[in-house]
Symmetry: D2
């Protein structure tokens, strides 16, 4: 298991060889573009020696000033206002799509056809159908593909996966996860693409729920049936144009779902953006026949674990583990114990994993999420919406 | 609201008058019998002056030695081996049923017919039908009736109710509760009445779930629709007779449910006895338009609350409130702040409330749960089982 | 060690024999009198079968109405307005002194001379000299004697002692404890006996500090040297007579001390009543060569423990132990796991231990604190005041 | 106070102007060199637009391979094996000293004489005398100077300072801080420079204690008297040369101190490297007349605060604030709320502050620590050692 101590199943750089360069073309320069750019810039000196040296070839986006600022801010060689140009750029080997959900499919499919490796932010697509086309394209093209389910790269969650893989939790009985935020509780918050079904596909479900669906699959296994409900608490919001006019919110503000897994476990999932005080509260608990574990993204560096047969018995209780030892996942690259890291570090681990896969021709899954994971995630999201609409349990079929 | 600072809507003792005596007849001397007996013995000197003085008239049970020990241990005047004798005892004014679920209905109905006031442990009955008959009996008899949903009498939860009643949480969006224990995780644990459908009605649902269903109704309002799943993880267990033979577990080991409330809120409920490390983990969270609150029964004396508009804004965060000030619910009867109380104290508050209702002819609900609450609880439990069996959402109709 | 699982080193009731009766005479009916009375009343049915049956012979105090109310409230047979009468009462075998510090010495010495066993609330005395006389009296009289350091009877702290005794923490390096309250932060709070040196001996030191000094000695060993500082933040307060006149606060509002222990460990102690938000925050941490433990009285039922060599190493972290299993100290008498108990329960454990010692002629120490512990505690308190006054480290000599 | 929302009292870049370049020369490429290099590389794109653009001119160290690797890893233009060359390099405007304590004085003094601005890691020096010379040198040279007390740049602690400055905590009564680690608990851990008095000056005191001394001064004010004890638990350790020979540990493994502040507050300080389970546990609590606050470095993004007059009173309790809103200190440069940051980010804030001071000729103190702070810190460290040696309280005189 020694390989998994670092960046997981990373093959790593070839001994004595200079790190090969991989040309990166990034689409989107906002929140996610910033997080990914930071990762590309830090990998060469923090994950040292890196499996590959990212070359910041080009960044693209619709707003010319925005693109120009991103070029000079992050040090990209070129800026484009059309993603097609980015994909035509022969220096680009890895296409990284950090745009909103509605512009995932077309650029990714084109990039695959152009033979680029692809990293696409989550959720992969707005619908199962869209996701299927994207999966089809990357498989046909034979490129590496990854979906940005970055929480697989939280050290505490990678540690959780290692314990489960090693059988330390025994047979899994329960998975329960919530992903709670508060940012649209105010009914006067104005409309955005995230609140429009046509743009976003879904609301809390695709934005937050997709993450915990991915973790459910990654940590427990495939779900086979789902029952769900959704709610839209504020049905109209001011348009952003200052006219005072209202636009319809056409996505879920919250959802909850009950899962039955192939292996007999049961699960509950819930996501909402209407939870005052919850900033980024992705919380999960898993109970198995030998133990339990608990994670809270707001306490990123910690995991709580309970071993049923811990000795001595009078000291049994949940261990609060500060995941920051050199032997913990990813930590050999960081700091002395207790000098904690943060959310942005997940992207450094994730993209290193992808670069390694590209250079060494190793699979992205299961330690990273590939487009098959993105597709299955879309199938589950659609099943949740279908169940919520029909009041019936829905079978999950990939 | 000053009345609610003490024992809630208690009218209290008449000024200057000696506390009237109320004769108590208790059925069952095990876990719950011990908890109730302790309450009867402590009320006269801790809830001082008490609204009424409980007189420990008689205790009944099937095992003669057990009854005899209980008589001398707790100081009951008489012991019976047949509950019918207890009910015929004219000194008994309050019949307190602490037996397993299967022996709730017949004794309670007989007691009502004999004009006794009744306290019955939860769940009220094994089925809706049984509960309906019991409700019918007490209403016809015109006696006071209470179901032992003792968590309404946790100071922190009464405080929660007061905040919600006062509108401090605004419109309620979310209720989520789990009640997790670990005690049957071991597949070699032998059969007991709690694992037999005929005896218990249901498993984790009626034992643990009934409590959080009651809190959902009490804190948020009536649910109108439910979807649910159940699981029985260990389907056969050794019989307790030492023969090595196995008996079938015919109840749920765990359930999960999605609720839609009349007021538009959504809810999730889950209970399980297969959660290693969870001793008595009844945890709930409520999110409203103005704030959120969080409770964990294992930290009985605390409640966490978040106010959305707290000032100054840079110090907004969940307050961890130690509910132990003289102005907190029930606390004027206890100790200086921070000298915490425990689980057994809920029964002291609960039974004081009932004694007060009896003496002053005031209603048990809404601060306590009456048989109508017990009946509605049974309706919801049955709807959960029906949904789990059919894979369809079920409407809740009382 | 099985004996210690219950009430510690309790010998217990004689098999088959009825519990011998012990006549109790209580001096003081306020806060502590209520806590002790509750213990006497609960022991017979909760610590079942009890080592002895306390008989509530008499209660004494200066205020006739107060005494009369206490008699009827708790069921004492007799009320006295003079403690001398209490001590002359031949039915009284155990004299329990729940009065303020200034009235500890004379009644206790008289009671010893009258051959009564004695339980005296802490601190034993206002000064070393007073304590020495009290110790002398009980030793000469050959009676059982106990000081109310009730935190030795917190299940979590008894568990801590068991781990340390068993060597599980290894060599002890550090003891650090604070005892923080907030109740006199308001400068307008009026004078009381607790703020007068002549009445109380000291302030936060004797009231709160004495408890953590006792725990330091009980858990780590004898200190040999101490350095200390004290502070009186509010030097004058309104008298309670409504005159508007101010009285001088002549005790410490807070103290802090550095200890060196005989065994090489170092310690820090601090107590204050000027800590907003701290209700009853007695917190301690012990670090040894093999592990660490942490306790917080506001989370009475929990203890955190870290084992340095815990396996697997990647799950090392502080265990949050809910001390509520049937195999945890004192818990076989209480409830199923997770159904937590509170502060008042310490007195039930403490007094049971004393009754057992009386009946079976076993020593009160080390599981309980005797007058020798009370005396040594006074020596340390005096050394702390001396160091604070002189700015020099002071050797502790018993 | 709006300026303080960002990087504190940063003047910021001149509008419309390109960020001036500042040539950096770094001495030391290990733990701290890595942390500082990361900061220099991230500032230009994360603190955007930055007040100045750091140019990585040169890095120096004794080991040629180490220097060469650092050059290529971080992108320094030049590598030196002699710090004198670094200081002679005219491109270097800012000299950054990341070496062990023994090599702070000479290079810093030389750099000052060469007119370089200086950032020196803490503690500034091994003794008061050494620190005084360094302070003298920078004052004479008129350069900017900063000591690496990076915890002033934790967002939660800057927030704490803002609350205190604004008077929200009222009069300060108590400061208590510990800094606990576990890394030398194992007696077989071999000798290192940190355990030799000649190299390190002191042990836990200078390494960990210096940080909490700085926070005490920064948050509460100047201490005027101190009493202290120290301990060396393991007095000999294996030399690192493999000979099996033992070397003497000539520094403190732990210290504890009592402070009296000029403003009447009292304080306790303790640091140790012998606390199993404590990874990087810098914990502090401050109690004032209007409130209290609590910080734990292992939960870097959180601060707990209690307001004495919080409304409604029944919800008073410590707020657990996740310091990650755009209006919290430094956070406008980072991520959406709840997407937490880590320890390494303190250097980004700290060095940005220094660059801003250099460019805009503004003072480093009080938001950053300058050499005067480093000198006063050394005075207090020496007073602690003197008190520990003499058993007497020592007056602090700068």
């Amino acid at each position: 298991m020694s390989d998994e101590i670092g960046i997981g199943n990373m093959t790593g750089p070839k001994a004595g060889a200079a790190a090969p360069e991989i040309g990166v073309g990034l689409l989107g320069y906002a929140f996610m573009g910033k997080a990914h750019s930071n990762a590309y810039k830090k990998i060469p000196y923090m994950i040292y020696p890196p499996p590959a040296a990212p070359r910041l070839v080009a960044i693209a986006g619709r707003n010319p000033e925005g693109v120009q600022e991103a070029v000079s801010r992050y040090g990209y060689e070129t800026g484009y206002n059309d993603w097609r140009k980015l994909i035509r750029d022969e220096r680009v080997q890895l296409f990284d799509n950090c745009t909103p959900n509605a512009s995932h499919a077309a650029p990714c499919i084109a990039a695959a056809q152009a033979g680029k490796h692809i990293l696409c932010e989550k959720p992969l697509a707005r619908t199962t159908r869209e996701a299927a086309k994207m999966l089809d394209a990357v498989e046909k093209a034979g490129v590496q593909h990854m979906v940005g389910f970055n929480y697989r790269f939280v050290p505490a969650l990678r540690q959780a996966r290692q314990w489960i893989e090693a059988g330390l939790l025994g047979e899994i009985y329960h998975f329960r996860a919530v992903y709670l935020q508060e940012w649209i509780t105010d009914p006067n918050l104005r409309m955005s693409w995230r609140l429009e079904g046509a743009q976003a596909g879904s609301g809390a479900l695709g934005d937050l729920g997709a993450h915990i669906i991915d973790l459910a699959r990654w940590l427990v296994g495939e779900p086979v049936r789902v029952s769900a409900i959704t709610r839209t608490f504020v049905k109209q919001r001011p348009l952003g144009d200052g006219s005072g006019a209202l636009g319809a919110v056409t996505v879920d503000d919250a959802f909850a779902a009950l899962l039955e897994f192939e292996n007999g476990a049961m699960g509950t999932l819930e996501a909402s953006r209407f939870c005052p005080g919850r900033k980024n509260a992705q919380k999960l608990e898993i109970n198995g026949s030998k133990g339990s574990l608990v994670f809270d993204l707001e306490r990123f560096n910690e995991i709580e674990v309970f071993w049923k047969d811990d000795q001595p018995r009078d000291s049994r209780g949940f261990h609060t583990v500060l995941v920051s030892e050199s032997y913990h996942p990813f930590w050999k690259y960081w700091w002395p114990q207790g000098h904690i890291i943060g959310w942005e570090h997940t992207f450094i681990h994730e993209i290193t994993h992808l670069l390694d896969a590209i250079v060494n021709h190793t699979p992205v899954a299961p330690y990273g999420a590939d487009f098959m994971d993105g597709y299955k995630n879309a199938v589950i999201c659609d099943a949740i919406l279908k169940s919520a609409g029909s009041g019936r349990q829905v079978a999950i079929k990939y």
